[in-house]
């Protein structure tokens, strides 16, 4: 891996034009420092990511960051405001612990997408690997394709929308998040059940699909959530401990 501390910025400084950063010539650390120091309303285009980890982590200003190519682990981790877009695919831990704002990947994402996310919107146009939305705490996730096994494991709040299929053990030990799946669910995890789709659910799902630029209709989905049987200790189980 080469770290070249040459002038990282080309293109116009300030104004409406985007600043371009080529990761063939700048390090991820230099890029992230630039993003952390940038003012609200600034736009960036990142080129030659070639699967590098930790790109655009920890953005706290209202930026618009677009990456042309595939990114590695933890893209836009801890994202706070603004929009981060990948024209390509993303590795493990996309938008991990996102707080607010929007992260959009046009290709696929690996495992643990939006893990522990507190808020904001994460859109993956393609598929995700295992553990999508694991321990989600308020984030909204819209996946255009299918998701892997153990997704929404111990999910606490937020909405997970899947336009394709879901893998084994969906929503295992789920607390209060709402899951909408259009295709097949391979199996539901412990304490996750299918639930009635009421008007308020159709309304929130329709709004999420629209925000994510999807053409699917809310009526095509089924809703899953917590049976709330794991909330309380059952005295019948006392002998097991």
């Amino acid at each position: 891996m080469t770290l070249i501390a040459a002038q990282p910025v080309t293109g116009a400084a300030g104004g409406d034009a985007a600043t371009t950063v080529d990761l063939a010539r700048s390090s991820v650390r230099e890029l992230n420092r630039l993003l952390h120091d940038a003012d609200d309303g600034t736009s960036f285009v990142v080129e030659s990511p070639v699967g590098s980890h930790n790109i655009a982590v920890g953005i706290t200003a209202d930026l618009d960051v677009t990456v042309e190519g595939d990114v590695g682990y933890y893209f836009a981790g801890m994202h706070q405001t603004g929009t981060a877009t990948v024209h390509g695919s993303a590795g493990v831990g996309l938008a991990e612990n996102i707080m607010s704002g929007m992260v959009h990947v046009t290709g696929d994402a690996s495992q643990s997408t939006a893990a522990t996310g507190h808020g904001g919107l994460v859109i993956v146009d393609g598929n995700t690997g295992a553990r999508c939305g694991i321990s989600m705490k308020g984030v909204d996730i819209v996946v255009g394709g299918s998701i892997g096994h153990a997704s929404a494991f111990m999910a606490q709040a937020g909405r997970l929308v899947v336009c394709g299929d879901a893998g084994e053990a969906l929503g295992d030990s789920i607390y209060e998040a709402r899951i909408y799946v259009r295709g097949e669910v391979a199996s539901l995890g412990a304490d996750c059940v299918e639930k009635e789709m009421r008007p308020e659910h159709l309304a929130e799902l329709g709004e999420l699909l629209q925000r994510a630029g999807r053409s699917e209709r809310a009526e095509e989905f089924r809703r899953y959530g917590s049976a709330r049987n794991l909330y309380h200790f059952k005295v019948d189980n006392a002998g097991s401990y």
């Binding site: 699967g51 590695g72 493990v92 295992a130 153990a150």
Partner: protein
């Protein structure tokens, strides 16, 4: 962590670039395991010349002295050649691998033999993976398949013997990212079946198990399916033979793996960035192997007269 990179060349015209492509992949997995590394290189004219077998032994013996000793131990036509690549000494001779292995054991009693076969050369050692690869002259190596591993040791000591790949039967190599929790029980059970071990390493147990199953009639796919029913723990495994490559992950699939496939090659790596430099990656079919599924790719037979 540990890093894995594996490459099977489908298009014979690309075989001259095997080492250069693997070097590029290896550079991107160094951070996953910087303490030691190993390579298995299949079909190299330099390391495994046609008609010869290859044995790798971990030793600081003088190559010239070892060559003299082997000449005395082997039939005259065997013509043994010995080259030291840091801790790995590669021995070639025009005899079956089993005969050469016996001779090396006789010449270097107690030394660990870590590579064996007629199609594969195994080189491994302690140190920075790219420096090791450079000392092996990796970029100039041609061939059919290459398998590399960068190790972050967890279950046993950082030594050349404990580095991956594990090559416990001829032309059969295994690399592992993860850790097995029941390897001690399986080792005891295999020992009772007469299987001998070189180390206390957990991954060696998987290699021995696969070799033992294949010696009893399994093919690579069925041996790996059997492994899934016996081994407990975390694993992404890549296993290669003279003519095939396989990938399998445990049912939880925590350890990463990504596969890219084109008409010219099949590649597997721990991280996408190791695949990003391969020719034609932009049009490759890229996917993560599903948990608990054995993926196997056979090396296409090369037509008579084509590059080996």
């Amino acid at each position: 962590m540990c890093g894995i990179a594996a490459l099977q060349i489908r298009n014979p015209a690309l075989r001259g670039e095997l080492g250069g492509l693997m070097h590029g992949m290896l550079c991107e997995i160094v951070e996953r395991g910087p303490d030691s590394a190993g390579l298995a290189l299949y079909g190299s004219e330099r390391l495994t010349p046609e008609g010869s077998s290859a044995i790798t032994v971990i030793s600081d013996a003088d190559p010239g002295v070892l060559a003299d000793d082997l000449r005395a131990l082997l039939p005259e036509a065997a013509n043994p050649a010995v080259v030291a690549y840091a801790e790995s000494i590669l021995v070639n001779a025009e005899t079956p691998a089993s005969v050469l292995e016996q001779a090396v054991r006789a010449a270097l009693p107690g030394a660990s033999i870590v590579g064996r076969g007629s199609n594969v050369a195994v080189l491994k050692g302690v140190g920075h993976p790219v420096e090791l690869a450079d000392s092996y002259g990796l970029t100039s190596i041609s061939g059919t398949q290459a398998l590399s591993h960068t190790r972050m040791a967890t279950e046993s000591a950082v030594t050349a013997v404990g580095a991956h790949p594990f090559t416990v039967a001829e032309d059969l190599c295994l690399v592992h990212n993860g850790s097995f929790s029941n390897h001690a029980s399986i080792r005891r059970w295999l020992r009772a079946e007469g299987v001998e071990f070189d180390s206390e390493n957990d991954s060696e147990v998987a290699a021995r198990f696969i070799a033992w199953r294949m010696a009893h009639g399994d093919d690579l796919t069925t041996a790996l399916e059997a492994l899934q029913g016996v081994f407990d723990g975390f694993y992404t495994l890549v296993v290669t033979t003279a003519d095939s490559m396989a990938v399998v992950r445990d049912p939880i699939a925590c350890k990463p793996a990504i596969i890219a496939e084109t008409d010219d090659w099949i590649a597997m790596a721990s991280e996408y960035r190791a695949l990003a430099g391969l020719p034609g990656i932009e049009d490759a079919r890229i996917f993560e192997p599903s948990p608990g599924v054995v993926y196997t790719w056979a090396l296409a037979p090369v037509l008579e007269g084509a590059a080996r």
